[in-house]
Structures are given as structure tokens and as C-alpha cells.
């Protein structure tokens, strides 16, 4: 399974970075990482009904002294725009790992508009966006993003290119 390696590495970085709260709306590309976090007794994993809830969760956890991370796919970025205003005004630390849809190899054309706008939307709301195109780059970038967010009170998004996830059909997505 192509995603297993990076997911385990990112889980290690989250642990090393002191992340205790993980919010997510699932994506097939995050399946392994979500499972690793659920299996980790030191992490409180919170499935969300919408990505927007993850921003509130992260803000509340930080007010209470805990570090968190938010996992989602690129379509979810459209659901968090307004509440990123709070993140910017309050300088809440925020780390999002976003798996991309709507890129080369996309099998669902309805994913394309949000996928194409994801980075611009985040940047418009003051989030630092870093894109990775290779699995081995994800964990080092996660480490850097955690440090930047929690030591400098900044908001960071890691966009994982769709070709890293490598899903090209609904059938593949189900069997991920």
C-alpha cells in the first residue's frame, strides 16, 4: 500500500511534536494515518461532521494547553474559510494536513474546481501553504510545520499531491 510509509512517519512526527488531539474528516488518502492515530492511546481522535469544527477544536485545545492537528481533503478547505479569520486574528497555531483532489489523475470532475482553488483560498486567509509531491517529503515537512505553528503561533497547511496518494478510480478509493 503506497500510503503506509508516509502515514507511519507522520504519526511519529505528531508524537514527537507533542500532538495529543487529532481532528479529521476522512479522506481515502488519510486512511492509514487516521488508523494509526486511533490506535494511539496518547491521542484523542475526534471525527468531525465538517472540517470547520476542526478549527474550533484546535483553538479550544490550544486554549487548554494542548497541541492538535487537522486532517482533511482539499474539498474541506472550502468549509473552513470564515473561521480561519479567528485563527488569524487570535494567532492560533494551526497545522492541517490536506490530501489533494482535483489534480492530475482525478476521476471525479466535481472535485476539480475546489482542488484548483485550495492553495489560493488558504493563502488568502493567511495560511502558509507548503506542497509536497513525494511521499518521503511529508514527514520532514510535518516536523517543520509543527515547529512553525506552535513556536511562532502561525497557521500551516501541508498539501499532499494527489499523485502521492495515487487513487484513480472509485474502486481504488474503496480498496485503499
Amino acid at each position: 500500500m503506497p500510503s503506509r510509509g508516509w502515514a507511519d512517519e507522520v504519526h511519529q512526527e505528531l508524537t514527537a511534536g507533542g500532538v495529543r488531539v487529532v481532528g479529521y474528516v476522512p479522506d481515502a488518502g488519510h486512511k492509514r494515518l487516521i488508523e494509526r492515530c486511533h490506535a494511539d492511546r496518547k491521542m484523542r481522535v475526534v471525527p468531525l461532521t465538517t472540517e470547520e469544527e476542526g478549527i474550533g477544536l484546535a483553538a479550544g485545545a490550544w486554549l487548554g494547553g494542548e497541541r492538535s492537528v487537522l486532517l482533511m481533503q482539499s474539498s474541506g478547505v472550502g468549509n473552513i474559510i470564515n473561521v480561519l479569520g479567528m485563527v488569524q486574528v487570535c494567532r492560533f497555531p494551526l497545522v492541517m494536513v490536506v490530501t489533494m483532489r482535483g489534480e492530475a489523475g482525478e476521476f471525479n470532475p466535481w472535485q476539480v474546481p475546489m482542488g484548483e482553488a485550495t492553495a489560493r483560498v488558504l493563502e488568502a486567509m493567511g495560511v502558509t501553504v507548503r506542497r509536497v509531491d513525494a511521499a518521503e517529503q511529508i514527514a520532514p515537512l510535518a516536523r517543520q510545520s509543527l515547529r512553525s505553528a506552535f513556536e511562532e503561533n502561525s497557521s500551516q497547511a501541508i498539501l499532499v499531491a494527489q499523485r502521492v496518494i495515487g487513487i484513480k478510480s472509485f474502486q481504488e478509493q474503496r480498496s485503499q
Binding site: 474550533g56 477544536l57 479550544g60 494547553g65 494542548e66 506552535f150
Partner: protein, 203 residues
């Protein structure tokens, strides 16, 4: 409806002790400020729909402290999914109180869905809140205050209040200041790296 929102909120916050408080934007932020500003209050000026989730994050991070969210019916309706998310997490230390005037108070008193019979307490109950009720009378508020401090949560209460236009009592609006004062009061001297240091003993 006979209850006055400022009176209700002031009574809920009597002797609040170590209670951690989040208030939704608009009228409930003014209500908690009218009752007395505190470093351990986090009034929102935006992020509509997220008050309950901020309360959840705080409750998970601080399992030994009681967390109260006070918000309005319009704010709650905007983030109704949070009730389901909280129901799944079952935080025993979280209470969510909706001050329900059945109106969008800051935008011209338009009717919210609760004016048309949408029952927030029933929604919360269906989502798995351990206790969920609608209150209409002043005599119930003291007991609710006790439950907020002691009863195993998650607890939900909708309090039906009169439609009133009241003087604005505005909290500080500098977001960084609100965040920093809250963390400092709760966590003590937070190191620059953001790691937790032993919390202050509640007074």
C-alpha cells in the same frame, strides 16, 4: 417567555470559581461581559458556529476543569453538527447552554429556526448528551448552575428568554490578548515552546 437573558447569565456565572467559559459571538458575549469580565472567559467576535467546538477542545485538553459554553440559538444552529461530534466524544466536564430568544439579535431580530419549533434540546438529546433540557423559569436556573459545576456531562440546556434589545457591554476585542490572558490564567507561565506547565490551583 419571562426570563431576562442578562439575569439568567449573571445567575449562571455566580460563584463561577474555576469554571472555564467560552461565549458565542454577539449577545451572549455581551451577556457574559455584563456579568463580569474574567481572564478565564473567551468571548468570540466571529467564528460563528464554533463556540461549542472550542468548548469541546478545551474540555478535552483540561479534563479536570469544568467548561461552560454559553451561546445563542442562531450561533448554535449554524454549527449544529457540533452536537453530534460532542455526543460522540462524551466529554464529562462540558456544559453547553443556549440562551434562546428565537431571534438573530444583532441583525434585526429576524426569527431563527427555534421560533418555528426546532427543538435544540431534543437534537442534543438525540446526539447523546447525557442531560438535555429546555428551561423557561427562573427557579430552575440555580439548579442548572449546580449541574454545570457538578453533573457528569456532556450537558445541554436551552433557556428560553425574552426578545430584548439591551445596552452593549463589549468585551476586549484583541484576539491575541484574549487568547494569551486565558492561557496565562489557566496554564501559568507558558513557555515559549507552548508546552504545558503545571496549572495554577483553582482559587
Amino acid at each position: 417567555m419571562t426570563l431576562h437573558r442578562r439575569d439568567v447569565v449573571a445567575r449562571l456565572l455566580e460563584k463561577r470559581g474555576a469554571l472555564l467559559l467560552v461565549a458565542g459571538l454577539g449577545s451572549t458575549a455581551w451577556d457574559i461581559t455584563a456579568a463580569g469580565d474574567s481572564d478565564l472567559s473567551f468571548p468570540l467576535w466571529g467564528a460563528m458556529g464554533q463556540a461549542a467546538m472550542i468548548g469541546l477542545g478545551l474540555a478535552l485538553a483540561q479534563p479536570k476543569r469544568r467548561v461552560l459554553v454559553i451561546t445563542g440559538d442562531g450561533e448554535m444552529l449554524l454549527g449544529l453538527g457540533a452536537l453530534a461530534t460532542i455526543g460522540v466524544q462524551q466529554p464529562p466536564n462540558l456544559a453547553l447552554v443556549v440562551i434562546d430568544n428565537e431571534r438573530y439579535g444583532e441583525t434585526g431580530m429576524q426569527a431563527t429556526h427555534t421560533a418555528h419549533g426546532v427543538d435544540l434540546a431534543a437534537v442534543a438529546k438525540a446526539c447523546g448528551f447525557r442531560s438535555s433540557r429546555t428551561f423557561r423559569y427562573r427557579k430552575d436556573i440555580a439548579k442548572l448552575r449546580g449541574d454545570i459545576h457538578r453533573r457528569t456531562g456532556p450537558l445541554f440546556a436551552a433557556i428560553k428568554v425574552m426578545e430584548e434589545t439591551l445596552p452593549l457591554v463589549l468585551p476586549p476585542h484583541d484576539g491575541v490578548m484574549l487568547k494569551t490572558r486565558f492561557r496565562r490564567a489557566l496554564l501559568g507561565n507558558v513557555r515559549e515552546r507552548g508546552t504545558k506547565v503545571p496549572p495554577q490551583t483553582p482559587s
